[in-house]
Symmetry: C2
Subunit: 211 residues, 2 copies
Amino acid sequence: MKTDATKDYSEMAAPIEFYFDFSSPYGYIASRRIDDLAAKFGRAVSWRPFMLGSVFRIAGTQPLTEYPLKGDYSRHDFARSARLYGIPFDMPEKFPISSIAAARGFYWLERQDPAAAKRFARAAYQAYFADGRDISDPEVLSAVARESGSDAAALMAATQAPEMKAHLKAVGDEAVARGVFGSPFIFADGEPFWGADRLDMLARWLETGGW
Amino acid sequence: MKTDATKDYSEMAAPIEFYFDFSSPYGYIASRRIDDLAAKFGRAVSWRPFMLGSVFRIAGTQPLTEYPLKGDYSRHDFARSARLYGIPFDMPEKFPISSIAAARGFYWLERQDPAAAKRFARAAYQAYFADGRDISDPEVLSAVARESGSDAAALMAATQAPEMKAHLKAVGDEAVARGVFGSPFIFADGEPFWGADRLDMLARWLETGGW
């Protein structure tokens, strides 16, 4: 029988859940910081790409860049936030893009090798937000998969597999059921944090156990 | 003739501009931190209440609490953010409210005594977000004015004066022209910062001169 102390420890050790869309600039910025931040508190991070567009339809919102006034500020802030943390960033000319293949490919990889899936995710984000490559183009995504050490042909085939389609759909449905409405969206022991600019608050939460 | 050094100093000494709506929870939270934060860098703060509803119509947005999913998160985060900084907060039952009289009263007071205007503004925010008082009710607003040491009758009369109506309208037009789309919205030497959760970034900007 578990003691209370064991139970608390087990809860503390649960991974941080990091929901993001591969087409989200703030998701990219958070992706460059989240694992190091969590590691400081002995926590792993479970990456959860999802389709932000589907969530926008439910939340009645749209990409930040589509709004008058807010769009200009957002573009300014993407670059400013990236500079603050020394993260390479070059706003893509084509934005937003469909990230559905990247997300399906991620989950296919994750089933075999979670570390390889993160390598692929980091490479896809870098390609799109730093290197000016359109990862919605199957040839580009395939190249990114190959460059990050994965079986590109198998990964691209998986992006069309009914099983992976269903899996990504289920991830999105679960995200909405949990209240996810933007990217990045992070859960730490069930506590929700929205936005790349909430990582310092997340760190404080992990440090203190909440307030 | 001014030297470049004099010009730089004069720019550095300009007040921080703090745009907010009296009906904005995050504006309230920022209002409790902004003056102390600015003072650390030898800066004053110019408070600029405006009508967020007018800006929402231009930006194509609405109050956070009106959006599915985002609304629940926002209510959770208002309280969580307030607790983090030890700020008393009790989500008003009636929300949002019209803050037009409070804003006009503020600018009328400011013309005579800027310190009195800030006292009134702090009292109005406290009344609405901590003490459960509806400041869109003229009797309540009048009481808040009196309690904060102002001539309540004169202030309430000013809220109906064509001159103050025009003044508030002009503040709102200028805010939109400068790209303001939310509350709080802060400018430091022209650099824009949106949101109560950007005060740490603002502090870093003031400390470093930007990046």
